[in-house]
Symmetry: C2
């Protein structure tokens, strides 16, 4: 097999990144272990307990329940599943903002739960009036996003918690991407700030662990118990995870990354990434593009499709928001040098695309 | 982080194994890639196409649809989900033998599908009369196991296919563990032998790939389409997987292992493993234990609990069947030397346990 993975130099579209060297080293050592079988692989099972404790520390939870999931999708699916299991009515619903990740659609399909999608306000955050108007006795969970996939926006989590409480619904926070940068901001987003019941928080995104290392946290173990199925022929008695065999590499790399970087390394990285995002936003704005101000290290800008395509042809890995805006995620592998080179390509290709358009219209 | 994974020397309980060196090397190179985002990571997305083609070749399917899943649980869940989506009635059921893996219980919980569990005959295979009596117009799928988790038994797949056809149900084959040894046996188990619709076949078990590398195969892409959800902000349009971000390491290592070992390397391994299983079965039988004859490289034997516990205390990683029998999976890392050392411990500890029991009863 001669194929080589491409370098990260021109990857501006991913919410994953190069693992930290300590995370890579741990992943390689634990490649052949399976935390899904703790009787056989006790060391990595112990490491998973460490990972959950560390995630709890980041997310303001003293005695966290949870596990290292395959990623944010699994954590979101499992949170919806917990809510469904606890709901007393036959057809539970989940209220969430339109900014929520598409994994909630997957959860709804899988779990046969109805989604009630409410709009966001102009600043890209859940519209609280709309949420209030939407919840009722059928509401099993309210979802808040702490770092949205498209614009990096943070919903008003404490207020969503009050609304969820008012109808006895669970509050789930999707901090899959945001969880490792939010501790260094003024946002109120975690278990210590609001009556959060469950959370997605992924080490393999801003946490710099190796894929697959997502995180599901729950305020109490009885929430997690809703997921348990019995496990014959494993020397453990039940399993709360969506998958069976799981990656020891992900677990070990999550612990290694967090022990190495929490909190100072992550703070430094947040500052670098946030400065890069602001710098890119200002550069694009000064070139006349509409830019969504980066609340977290993620920039969205309305770049015309021909320019977007031309940049892709140059090897830049780019993605778009649902509204078609260019979307750049300032992950740890995205450096100022890389962004300078990207902006230089914007300038060069803008001219070329402009000339082509002008030429075509002659 | 100073924890070290234990060696595989005394692991007799796992259905995973040390990755083949080529698989490990590929996993390490592709650690920072995500086949769940093919627009950003095109190389590993191409490798996934290769993996599916290779799995199809092993499983008798010329133009396979499918993907590299997180493992057998995901593949089984997704197969049940496909069947549920295609069912026309409101409360679809799945008919499966009691030997089926507990992941089907997970699927039933998640998907709100009812399981109809039928007994196995004395040889541990699905009782065809019971299956026939159980299927009806509500049956969305019939499950056949090709290499059961507890006893390594292979259900009569062609006959199950006929029964499934008779009620327009899908036939799903769980060959998660068996798929990489069955090609070297006389069993009829795959898409070429029977009207199989979907299959679980895991590279990270007998295929010697790194975790996580499961396999979901489907006879046609329209079956897979039942799983698709739309994916905004990825430069692909839909996603059929249960998870979102996925492990490029798993995908790359699956391709590397299969290219290296299919078919000769896997055949040699099957012969070694099967001979080891027969050897261990005969040694345990000659010591007076009831042994379930190994149809595939998996031995079950009725060993008394005190001896089982004493062996565990010696560091042997062992598991039990639901009926309490010792269960040894002869994976590639399980060598004749290792088994000789295990049998020597059986002899030594048998005496000690016997003396203790005798002493206690005095």
């Amino acid at each position: 097999m001669r194929a080589e993975p491409q370098s990260f130099d021109r990857v501006l579209s991913s919410m994953c990144t190069e693992p930290h060297p300590a995370a890579r080293e741990a992943a390689e050592r634990f490649l052949a272990t399976n935390p899904g079988d703790p009787g056989t692989y006790p060391t990595v099972a112990d490491l998973e307990d460490d990972a959950v404790s560390l995630l709890g520390e980041i997310a303001g939870l003293d005695e966290p329940a949870g596990y290292v999931a395959s990623g944010g999708t699994e954590a979101n699916v499992q949170a919806v599943r917990i809510a469904r299991e606890r709901a007393e009515n036959g057809r539970p619903t989940v209220v969430l903002p339109e900014s929520a990740h598409f994994s909630f659609q997957k959860a709804a399909d899988l779990l046969d739960v109805e989604l009630r999608v409410v709009p966001t306000t102009d600043d890209g955050r859940a519209d609280l009036e709309a949420v209030r108007a939407c919840v009722n006795e059928d509401t099993a969970a309210v979802v808040g996003v702490a770092g949205s996939t498209e614009y990096g926006r943070v919903d008003p989590i404490p207020e969503l918690g009050e609304i969820a409480d008012s109808v006895d619904a669970l509050l789930h926070v999707d901090a899959a991407w945001g969880g490792f940068v939010l501790p260094f901001t003024d946002y109120e987003w975690h278990f210590g700030h609001a009556p959060v019941d469950t959370m997605a928080i992924d080490p393999h995104k801003m946490g710099q662990a190796a894929v697959p290392a997502g995180g599901l946290l729950a305020r109490s173990s009885d929430l997690l118990d809703e997921l348990a199925v019995e496990t014959p022929y494993l020397e453990s008695t039940s399993q709360a995870t969506l998958t069976g065999t799981r990656s020891g590499a992900g677990v070990a790399s999550a612990v290694a990354a967090i022990e190495e970087l929490w909190p100072d390394g992550y703070r430094d990285q947040y500052v670098r990434s946030q400065n890069n995002a602001k710098w890119l936003a200002s550069k694009l704005e000064s070139r006349g593009y509409d830019v969504v101000e980066p609340a977290l290290p993620l920039v969205a800008a309305s770049v015309p499709t021909p320019l977007f395509e031309a940049l892709r042809d140059e090897g830049w890995r780019l993605s778009r928001t649902g509204d078609g805006e260019l979307r750049v995620v300032c992950m740890p592998h995205v450096t100022r040098d890389g962004l300078e080179s990207f902006v230089a390509d914007v300038d060069r290709l803008e001219t070329r695309v402009g000339l082509e358009v002008a030429g075509a219209s002659e």
